[in-house]
Amino acid sequence: MNNSSTRRILVAIKRVVDYNVRIRVKPDASGVMLDGVKLSINPFDAIAIEEALRIKERGGADEVVIATIGPADCQATLRNALAMGAQRALHVVADSPLEPLATARVLLKLTEREQPFLVILGKQAIDDDNNQTGQMLAALWNRPQATFASKIELTDTNAKVTREVDAGLETLDIDLPAVITTDLRLNEPRFVKLPEIMKAKTKPLTTIPLGEIGGAGTPRAKVTRTEPPPGRQRGIMVKDTSELFAELHKRGLV
């Protein structure tokens, strides 16, 4: 399946708390409450899947393979990704979360195994907001990276990628294979239709124990406290524009 003539895109995804959920911190500061909370594909990763599918639909790739690392019930997330249109999925089973560098090491193993010409990931997961994994994978793989992509143009050997940077839109030309991380404006992911969900149930999903992959290393960062952010005080109400102006002027803001 992974013969080298297949032009393959590997998309790495993470299951996170749905972006519409207002998260709550546990009273004992030990973490965020996750019981019964809706879990979804990280939104930036859904954009990564969509982009890979569009590339394939344009004839730029033969196969889209989805990979995730997580506990057994992450398979539902992978099935959703398959329902979007990917061909097969890889599930590295890990019961506790990995640090970004460990995740990158595991993804490197999958990359060596699958030989993709492109790895696409979200720029960050909206739970830990680390924004590290794609760059780390590119470094370990010794390949180019184009982070925060808002446009991707491919040829057989290169990718021209527009990146959302603080100064505006930067364009890079990178050799393939490469790692690209997605920003919000790259595309709008498709909605999954019911027949696709049925079809996804029979698509190949390979389970790999983390121990079999190896190389994750020992954790070095430990979260010792998780607290709510300092709250904002409710401010004042003014009755008209003159009062608003007076208040802004008094505070030196206009």
Partner: protein
């Protein structure tokens, strides 16, 4: 003792203000020796500018024409080489630092702490998760080199007036040619950049059309503010999506944020809660935006915004 290597960000001729904030973060490690690394093309004065930052012990300057444009793939292996002997490597949590630092961390086999808000000890840091809806304290194992990006809204810039020694450095790392700069299209024309502006005015769905956003632009130009928008206004097609402020758009921390005709969905509030002063103008007195606003005014934006403009004009005469 901590030895901190700070990677300077610059735009060719001018040192980015984020660098002075990273130096501030580095100096908050007591007794730390702070060294700034500058990667620049020949002929610039970035290293001299960095040398003036208070608290900097030395500046390492790596001059090479390839540094005309900052590329993570090119800079990272050199930083990894220069990092020998340092306990910490800091960069700003800007798109420059976010792109570069994880690549450095992987080359160093070091853990990275992203978006550091405060430093409690050489191994203990506080950082936001869930777009700032929770704050964690992270402890890194002893005797581990630490890479970090510094959240620039959390640190003041150090003062100038320093006089550090500038040394030339020539890392021997092989530089890849697989990544090439093509171009940069600057954002926003003459208006300040949304991400770094000290004042931001945003419009929401209540503007009801793209043309009506002219009201927002006029007011913004009057006070030198950047212009943003709610997701609802973007989804309705009034303005382009790069103006979106919120969890899935831009997360900002200006001195002044004015929300006009924005109800204040959670995902929008997440993007603005670090603003120093939030002003809300909305005709719905029950809008959630008023729960976080420092100054609120209930009323019709189409009347209030032109009135406010006139009052600003009058005050300047």
């Amino acid at each position: 003792m901590s030895r901190v290597l700070v990677i300077a960000e610059h735009a060719g001729d001018k040192l980015n203000a984020a660098t002075a904030k990273c130096v501030k973060a580095a100096t908050s490690l007591s007794g730390a020796e702070v060294v700034v690394a500058v990667f620049a093309a020949p002929g610039g004065t970035i290293a001299q500018q960095a040398a003036q930052l208070s608290g900097v012990a030395r500046v390492l300057e790596v001059v090479n024409p390839v540094h005309q444009h900052a590329l993570a793939a090119t800079i990272a292996p050199q930083v990894a080489e220069l990092a020998a002997g340092f306990t910490h490597v800091f960069g700003p949590s800007t798109t420059f630092g976010k792109d570069l630092m994880p690549r450095v961390a992987a080359l160093l086999d070091a853990p990275q702490v992203s978006d550091v808000m405060s430093i409690e000890s050489p191994t203990r840091f506080r950082r936001p998760i869930y777009a700032g809806n929770a704050i964690t304290t992270v402890e890194i194992a002893a005797d581990t080199r630490i890479v970090a990006t510094i959240r620039i809204a959390s640190f003041e810039a150090v003062a100038g007036g320093g006089d550090a020694r500038v040394e030339s450095a020539s890392p021997g790392a092989a530089l890849p040619t697989h990544t090439r700069f093509v171009g940069l299209a600057a954002a926003g024309g003459d208006r300040p950049d949304l991400q770094s502006a000290t004042k931001v005015i945003s419009g929401g769905r209540a503007l009801a059309s793209g043309e009506a956003f002219k009201l927002i632009y006029n007011l913004a130009d009057k006070i030198g503010a950047a212009v943003g928008a709610s997701r609802a206004a973007v989804d309705a097609g009034y303005v382009p999506s790069d103006m979106q402020v919120g969890q899935t758009g831009k997360i900002i921390a200006p001195e002044l944020y004015v929300a006009i005709g924005i109800s204040g969905a959670i995902q929008h509030l997440t993007g603005i809660k670090d603003a120093r002063t939030i002003v809300a103008i909305n005709k719905d007195a029950e809008a959630p935006i008023f729960e976080v606003a420092d100054i609120g005014l209930v009323g019709d934006l189409f009347t209030i915004v032109p009135e406010l403009e006139k009052l600003i004009d009058a005050s300047r005469k």
